[in-house]
Assembly symmetry: C3
Homo-oligomer: 270 residues x 3
Amino acid sequence: MQMNIAQEAAAILTRLRATRPLIHHITNSVSINDCANITLAIGASPVMADDVQEVGEMVAVASALVLNLGMPNPRKIEAMLIAGKRAAQKGIPIVLDPVGVGATKLRMETAKRFFSEMNISVVRGNLAECKALLGFSGGSQGVDCILKEEYKENFAQELAQKLGCVVAITGATDIVASGSQLCRIHNGNSLLTGITGTGCMTTSLVACFSSVNRETFIGAVAGIAAMGVAGEIAEHSLKPGEGLGTFRIRLMDAISNMKQETLLNRMKIS
Amino acid sequence: MQMNIAQEAAAILTRLRATRPLIHHITNSVSINDCANITLAIGASPVMADDVQEVGEMVAVASALVLNLGMPNPRKIEAMLIAGKRAAQKGIPIVLDPVGVGATKLRMETAKRFFSEMNISVVRGNLAECKALLGFSGGSQGVDCILKEEYKENFAQELAQKLGCVVAITGATDIVASGSQLCRIHNGNSLLTGITGTGCMTTSLVACFSSVNRETFIGAVAGIAAMGVAGEIAEHSLKPGEGLGTFRIRLMDAISNMKQETLLNRMKIS
Amino acid sequence: MQMNIAQEAAAILTRLRATRPLIHHITNSVSINDCANITLAIGASPVMADDVQEVGEMVAVASALVLNLGMPNPRKIEAMLIAGKRAAQKGIPIVLDPVGVGATKLRMETAKRFFSEMNISVVRGNLAECKALLGFSGGSQGVDCILKEEYKENFAQELAQKLGCVVAITGATDIVASGSQLCRIHNGNSLLTGITGTGCMTTSLVACFSSVNRETFIGAVAGIAAMGVAGEIAEHSLKPGEGLGTFRIRLMDAISNMKQETLLNRMKIS
């Protein structure tokens, strides 16, 4: 089965580049430029409008919606709610990046509202963020054993079932859970945590890949694997004296040069 | 005549670097960093204030004003109107980038207000954006023949006359029309559409070049040609394995290293 | 004594990387990505929330606060005041970057409010910005002799005493004054003024280094020296044909690869 997932995931890349789907983002100003560039580099087309007066019209022509909780404010949250409802009407995937959701009441309450007022398709976050989400969904937040690698998978499945969406937890090993299916991705490296926005960019890639067939489980696997493989290629390319600045550029190079075969051959999933 | 335009355009670069004009931008957060950096790289000085309480004071010391319609919101639009009026009083060029103007009512209405309430000097957009502008200016929107290359020039002249400003339509071939004069620019490449913000950055360059002598036709030609030539130099510098991330860096390198002779020798206009 | 300052300053780097302090920023959208990346590159952890509803909670877990006056608006200013009060309660350093403070009334009045309503620990600005601050603090603004290099040191000390904080004036020679102690830093180069955000990034580094022992004089020296040394390394690495785009990437490389010994050996202070 895993072979099939890898093949399916890699095959999306070719269709993505042929169709250039429009990916609407409502996101933070730290990584907004990086998200636009990675969306272009993988072969899709980004749009980043965030005003309540126009997000509806933009989402109406988009193939996926990214909602990123970094640097929230009431104006953007309102726009996200409008965009989310429009996306649900259209039936396009909504990918939520719950940036720092456990850190403030505003983010927690916003995430709660999102899950009650719209149909989120995929959540892509780190373990701490996903633990915070389990908290308000009535799950077993605070159970420390979920920090152990072997329990993370059960936790991901539980959260996917509670939230009714695909849950992608990125970390040393990435886990994508649909509530029934589960996939582990073993690509990537620690340099990816040394530059800002790699989480946000991974979420953009998940949205790009999910938009093609509106298949979010495979889309999440493909997006996360593409980022991990690109991180490995970028790290491998570094020469002495080069550091995080160059790594960030090579990461974008690797995404823009990514081929279906490269993704398939280098993807390590189980 | 064309030889004169190329020489005049290239000569502005030297004067620009000697005078370091201040270019005020009110723009979107996707490409704001890129626009600031390209403004510095070409030899001018950027300022990006966007609050109604201070834009007037900033424009009062600026040599050109860029209004970019990407990611509009009521607060920024208000600031743009204040800035535009102050710029008109000062007599400095106002360069409008009508990003995605046809996509939403908010952008269409904002562009309409701009043309009725201030004196726009140059519009720099793609064909779809310029078609949308012709629509509200009472022109022949929807005439499909303007999509054909040979009709684009007539369309540009018609729009320039209707709007009473220089119209620069960038694409495979770029066209700058003043209503009477017309210039085609044949530089550039498709990689420029693979990274975000190249349109916005071109608009910044048009403002930089236009600010020197307040001559917007030549300024638009020079700004667009500089971007095209830089795109060619950047593409030519790419080695195997390098992609869009490196292209973006080399583009900035090429702008910062651009010499008057390089611009003159490589500029292909007709 | 200067030897001790250099050794102390360089030693902070190792402690900084071991503790990964959280540095909260409220800043402008031009350089926000650069500031987040340089904070990561030096070994700290950035957070950039700017809404009044959540900045207090973020500052509560931070080790330093950066307030950057670029692109101010009433919403952000309110958030800065809340964050500043929370930072003062916690006793963490508040580092102010008075971007363009003399240029508009909004910035001047905001800086005035900041100094009357919170305890700023360090100001990091250029000479023009610091002159503007002396104006409202009742000092001798307008005295032209402070433009002469030899008078800048007395000016910095006067301003530090008036404002009751460390004053770091960056320029050809950088000066850090505590009101009693003074240090000159002779690193850096003119390319640093050719890219946007180097001032803002220096301020972020000052906050990173100041957060470790809450020692702001040494922290300011260390942050400014790190930027200067990185600028020299980046410039030295440039090959023919490379320009400001590559310089910016190499600057980030040099920060991420900076070692305590490199910083100590290359730091030129007096």
